[in-house]
């Protein structure tokens, strides 16, 4: 990453110049020394444990090596991997999370599906690694670690129009190590007698490493794993980045003076604002990444900075319903209809959950997380009832909604360095398949930072650069 600079000789006075306005009150250096010494004597600077038994530092970190914005699955996984690949005191890593209850973050509100049925090789490989990570989770987080993986498979259906595509994808997936099989109409009928296959041409049934798990547990484990290895979580919201002009940096594609940032402002829950100086920053704020990126002038500046981070909130509903009569039995994988509607078993007593992405023109507003039950009645129910005759009389009994970290450009994750800032990395925009990829993304970002390039799965094509050269990486398997 240093290749982008060249040092030029500058008058010495220049190096003393900083234009950063610190947000904190000035503290008398003598008083400050006394305060720190007093805290040291009273052992207040030692890390302690919070009520959940997690290791927490009690000192606000003003100077850190790597700051991660967003402590969801992706952010925590990055922290975990960075720490795992170094040792306890090698790197000072801080994760800034504005809501430690995770009430609104997509990780906890997701459906937790794990599948390899994608069309892009990178996505398939990342999910394969996700499966591998979940399988060996006890090796990472100890004997008690459990994510309740239910290995029930995915069944993706295609109508005549999508059949060829589905078969092609399945071929690619099998080449890369996934296990699935194409079933024709008769085979589908025979295997899944509860299904109406009149308008289905083929289906692709995942045979191994597909199913669903508990995203809460995964997030908890990643977070605990990262803290145990020495990551500090800060409860606060990133509200501002501070910039410095760096005349001595010359970079391709930058006109005029390069303005870098290594300082950000965090608003603590009590309204206090504090500065954090960092060497590298990772943007993993999920559905709010677009807004955080704007704070860093991504999308508001000139040149490379005029390209925004195309990640938006998109509200997605999940409904649960109870099926009376004869519900589809245990031989019900997670089924994705060719219309994009999905459903799966939830428990064993005839409970199911389902969902569907709305069309572009009917996108609900993202101001709150209210659930619109009309969407179930108008859009989902007709498809459900048609696909599974036993669902004819079902009603949505409960529902919740969550925000997709939706990448409006090509519905795929953006993973890698930002081309302008030499110390900013992005890992967001997963549009509905982020949790299963969290382990792989964490590992990839840690490789970028610590090893200098991708070592395991090459994700160069999913970098931010694709927005600049305008080469979208469309993924067909988005639901």
């Amino acid at each position: 990453m240093f290749r982008r600079y060249a040092l030029q000789l500058k008058p010495l006075t220049k190096t003393f110049h900083t234009s950063i306005k610190l947000h904190e009150e000035f503290e008398n250096p003598i008083l400050r020394t006394i305060r720190i010494l007093r805290d040291d004597i009273m052992l207040r600077n030692r890390p302690g444990r919070d009520e959940h038994g997690r290791l927490v530092s009690r000192v606000f970190p003003h100077y850190v090596d790597i700051v991660i914005i967003g402590g969801g699955a992706i952010g925590s996984s990055i922290a975990y991997w960075l720490k795992k690949k170094t040792n306890f005191d090698a790197l000072r890593i801080v994760v800034i999370e504005k809501d430690p209850t995770y009430r609104k973050c997509s990780t906890t509100l997701s459906v937790g599906g794990l599948r390899q049925q994608f069309s892009l090789p990178e996505n398939i490989q990342m999910s394969l690694y996700g499966a591998e990570f979940l399988r060996t989770i006890k090796k990472h987080f100890g004997k008690e670690a459990e994510v309740n993986f239910t290995p029930h498979g995915y069944l993706v259906l295609a109508s005549e129009a999508g059949a060829e595509q589905l078969i092609d994808n399945s071929k690619l997936q099998n080449e890369l190590g996934a296990m699935n099989r194409i079933l024709n109409k008769d085979q589908l009928k025979e295997r899944f007698p509860w299904m109406n296959v009149s308008d289905v041409d083929v289906g692709c049934l995942g045979l191994e490493k597909e199913g669903w798990f508990d995203p809460w547990s995964l997030l908890g484990l990643l977070r605990r794993g990262a803290s145990d290895l020495g990551t500090q979580y800060v409860h606060g919201e990133v509200v501002e980045f501070l910039f410095t002009e760096m005349n001595d940096v010359i970079m391709d594609g930058v006109e005029g003076c390069y303005e870098g940032t290594n300082n950000l402002v965090v608003k603590l829950p009590d309204g206090q604002r504090k500065n954090i100086q960092f060497a590298a920053c990772i943007l993993a704020a999920g559905s709010e990444s677009g807004e955080v990126a704007q704070l860093a002038r991504i999308g508001t500046g000139r040149g490379m900075l005029s390209v925004p981070l195309p990640v938006e909130k998109r509200k997605r509903y999940v409904y649960s319903f109870q099926c009376q009569g004869e519900p589809p039995g245990i031989n019900t994988p997670m089924t994705i209809d060719h219309t994009g509607m999905y459903f799966r078993r939830d428990g064993l007593g005839g409970g199911f959950i389902c969902g569907m992405s709305p069309e572009a023109h009917e996108e609900p507003s993202c101001d709150n997380l209210d659930v619109d039950y009309k969407f179930f009645d108008d859009r989902i129910w007709p498809i459900l009832a048609k696909r599974v005759p036993a669902f004819e009389a079902v009603k949505a009994s409960r529902g919740w909604s969550g925000y997709y970290d939706y990448n409006t450009y090509d519905e795929n994750g953006i993973i890698g360095p930002h081309p302008y800032y030499q110390n900013m990395y992005i890992a967001t925009g997963f549009s509905g398949h982020g949790i299963q990829q969290a382990p792989a993304v964490g590992r990839a970002i840690s490789e970028l930072i610590l090893d200098g390039r991708f070592q395991t799965i090459d994700l160069t094509r999913l970098g931010f650069d694709r927005l600049i050269v305008d080469k979208p990486m469309y993924e067909i398997g988005i639901y």
Partner: protein
């Protein structure tokens, strides 16, 4: 605000390659919504699979430019920054008994996984059936071929009688892995067997839901009898995945009454497959 000149330094890229170079209206540049996306796809027949890694590089890396001395110093420079070496150097040496014990356990586990991993050469020489037989018998299990009455098992001296090269007509009928220390990676050796009908993992403590996931796929076309007694790691979620074994007739479990979800799963399995009979050892109550 958007009309900017191509910076002087970037001479490499052409108009299609870089969004900065073409002076388009910002609206076009900002992400399109999915509806427009389809239109674009049809027009250009754009295929993301054809995009290569090199397409993403729109700047010449600094060291590859004319006149940089990097190439001269190349001999002294490695691409690898030896992170793992640095990490091990920085890690304090811990010689407490518990950490040594941990390290030894981990090491043993790694060796076990390595020794059980799938070897393509073995399968090339022996064929899938015999390779699987060797794999199992060598590790203390037993196998039985079709048209043969006796089980093949290693004797006290760990010797056994199995052909050393591929032989036609040797097809496995039954595999008994009882009390073997078989791991997930080792199961790969049992893939692509033609007609295994009888399989027992009785007492394999390492068999968990992920293994069941694999087993239920690998033997879905033939398995009739499956014994999963004394496998403490299997939960009702794994048992549920057995719906993929469509010919299964007898399934042995420890005690399917151990929890309601477990019992429920068993009932649902029997419902989905009318030929299936789930048996379990009688529960012994301590008096």
């Amino acid at each position: 605000m958007f009309k900017l000149r191509l910076p002087q330094i970037c001479t490499k890229f052409t108009a299609q390659q870089c969004r900065f170079c073409t002076i388009k209206e910002p609206k076009e540049l900002i992400a399109k919504d999915p509806k427009e996306k389809d239109v674009v796809e049809v027009q250009e027949k754009y295929d993301p699979k054809k995009v290569t890694k090199e397409d993403m590089q729109w700047r010449t890396p600094w060291h590859q430019k004319e006149g940089q001395y990097y190439s001269l110093l190349r001999t002294f420079y490695t691409e690898d920054n030896k992170r793992s070496l640095l990490q091990s150097l920085q890690t304090p040496i811990d010689l407490s008994p518990s950490s040594i014990k941990n390290w030894w356990a981990k090491h043993k586990e790694q060796v076990e996984i390595l020794s059980q991993s799938y070897l393509p050469e073995r399968n090339q020489v022996l064929g899938n059936e015999l390779a699987a037989a060797h794999f199992i018998v060598y590790r203390g299990g037993a196998v039985k071929f079709f048209n043969q009455d006796k089980w093949i098992k290693a004797d006290e001296n760990e010797e056994y009688d199995l052909p050393r090269f591929y032989e036609e007509g040797k097809i496995l009928e039954a595999i008994d892995c009882a009390d073997m220390n078989i791991v997930y990676e080792g199961l790969e050796n049992l893939r692509n067997l033609k007609k295994v009908q009888w399989l027992s993992f009785n007492g394999c403590e390492r068999i968990d839901d992920w293994c069941i996931d694999k087993i239920s796929n690998m033997f879905s076309h033939s398995l009739v009898y499956l014994d999963l007694r004394n496998c403490p790691c299997i939960t009702d979620r794994g048992i549920g995945a057995l719906y993929k074994l469509r010919k299964l007739k007898i399934l042995y479990l420890d005690d399917f009454l151990r929890s309601t979800t477990y019992e429920m799963t068993c009932l649902l399995l029997e419902e989905a497959n009318p030929h299936l009979e789930i048996r379990s050892d009688p529960v012994v109550f301590e008096t």
